[in-house]
Symmetry: C2
Subunit: 343 residues, 2 copies
């Protein structure tokens, strides 16, 4: 079993329990038959759970972890139990080189703190940022970061997120000079906080970087597809991401009610069902699961705490693709390249 | 003409120009035939514009303003021109008692600064907050504030917003003890910034207030309808509001594409059209336009800068309803009542 195709999974994290995590891993394995897994958690419970997934059993190793990070544990508390929790041990598998990536549906703050302490940062980066690809009306997805790892950020953090987000867009979306924007509450220069205005000034001046700074975008431009990377602090990013998810669900629910409102609309719905099914699939957050911590010396993927089997499989598949693309090395090289030029 | 049924309109504010503002006012007047208007702006241009709206002419007075607040003017710049701009003069009509409310589609920061300086705050309130009613899946709309007037807020501001939002919900939604929540990036006690955690502690302790504190909600709960008031700083609120608007439009666009994807789905669409039209109407932000500055001694309504004729009419209608409900007096009385009890 090559370590470079092995993914460590925190089998105990997430709101929906071990069974959903295992079912998600089994589902992802069917899409990536070369992938091998290290399942970290309560050994007996995992062994029992694997009885339902004989195919996964043959491609997995179990590593026992006596403890679990709780969803309300503070990062500091979690750090003290890094060596005994399923989350901490999954990250350690990456550090030891036994796995190419770690995936967890657990507590974001704890995951970031543990990953940062264990894997350390790429030179020149102070804090990791949680980045995800979100769907747009354009040709490409958009990279949005930070999505909740850093509640408060200064201008320097925001600039580094822009640099990392651009590297992610170059390697993943295959763009030579990604268009990078800061999320703000208006497009005019004087809008927003001091941190955002200072970051804009610094990004405007950083003409040596392989990116195009596009200024500010507002919340309603997230899905326009006219920029490739949107940078924000983790608080705003989390609010935006969850508001987008909630609104998509809200509209889908209203649509369902509208279609049910008369016999005529029910008939119309049945006829156009294949089209609306496709839309439903496209909007389900479980089909966009798997955010990555950028800036670390190693791949750590955060799966949504409430992800179902499909969601977990999507996050594992995202991790598998990042492993295949050798994302960490390529981002570090990309960052190194322009730093050498700037020096 | 009774001053209590007169609305002052900043006819020059907004991205779409005077013609759209006048068309919006004319449209609103047809719904509220008792309403009278003071149109503030360039007298010649307004007179010309009114040629297309003879009915409105009969119910309007023009007050000349030589200047206009620009969309990128800083609040300080705007304040110095309060007496010569259409925005400043419209607010002054309320201060002088010549109008019961002012409506503007102009620059939010300037509008708040001018309104605050001219009308002053209700006793016990430090800053006005921009509040709007947003649609939910529940029985009632939800009051969300602040939506962009205060970029950064401390715990004391957030608590005051909660108190004002609850008063708005009691008077407008007719609820005895509105459920009030703080917008955050998780539901656990330790989540978010110091400001939010401190505000939560103070609201939990404030059991004498006629509201029920429901803790934290996340962005995906905005439209759930399980709380009546959602409180946040203006930065997060603006991001959430615009993300919700943008996502609703995004989903509507995807839906349009889905329906156009095959002959079969086109037929289904045509059959269920009345239902989807209703949904389109429900989701159009122009049908939810008109946010009010709470906390002022006078009614000032902010219309979306990009509002079309329908949007302007919705904002004017919202102002007309607030005038009819005597919102300012009722909120001040409501705040006074519990302060008397607390003392």
């Amino acid at each position: 079993m090559s370590n470079s195709s092995r993914i460590a999974v925190d089998a105990m994290g997430g709101d929906k329990g071990l069974a959903v995590m295992l079912a998600g891993v089994a589902r992802a394995r069917r899409r990536f038959p070369d992938m091998q897994f290290i399942l970290v958690g309560d050994e007996t419970a995992i062994r029992d759970g694997l009885l339902s997934h004989p195919n996964l059993t043959a491609h997995s190793e179990i590593v026992h972890a006596p403890e679990v990070v709780g969803s309300s544990d503070k990062p500091g508390q979690a750090l003290r139990r890094a060596k005994t929790t399923s989350m901490g041990i999954a990250i350690d598998m990456v550090k030891q080189g036994r796995a190419a990536a770690a995936v967890s549906s657990g507590n974001t703050g704890a995951l970031m703190a543990m990953a940062k302490l264990s894997l350390r940062m790429i030179p020149g980066i102070d804090r990791p940022a949680l980045a995800a690809l979100l769907p747009t009306l354009g040709n490409n997805d958009v990279v949005v970061l930070d999505l909740g790892a850093n509640t408060e950020c200064d201008a320097r953090n925001l600039v580094q997120f822009a640099v990392m987000g651009a590297a992610y867009a170059r390697t993943t979306l295959d763009l030579a000079s990604p268009r990078v924007a800061l999320l703000n509450i208006g497009s005019e220069d004087q809008k927003g906080t001091d941190e955002i205005r200072d970051a804009a000034r610094d990004l405007k001046a950083a003409t040596h970087l392989p990116m195009t700074f596009s200024g500010f975008v507002e919340g309603d431009q997230l899905s326009h597809g006219d920029v490739d990377v949107i940078v924000c602090d983790g608080f705003s990013g989390n609010i935006a991401l969850k508001t987008a998810e909630g609104t998509a669900r809200f509209v889908a629910d209203l649509l369902k009610r509208a279609f049910r409102s008369s016999i005529r609309s029910k008939i119309g719905f049945l006829i156009s069902r294949p089209a609306t099914e496709l839309l439903r699939h496209h909007l389900d957050p479980n089909n966009h699961n798997g955010a990555v911590f950028l800036g670390l010396n190693g791949l750590v993927v955060k799966s949504h705490g409430g992800a179902n089997e499909v969601g977990v499989a999507t996050a594992i598949a995202a991790a598998a693709k990042m492993v295949r693309d050798d994302l960490t090395r390529r981002i570090a090289e990309d960052l190194g390249n322009f730093e050498a030029k700037a020096a």
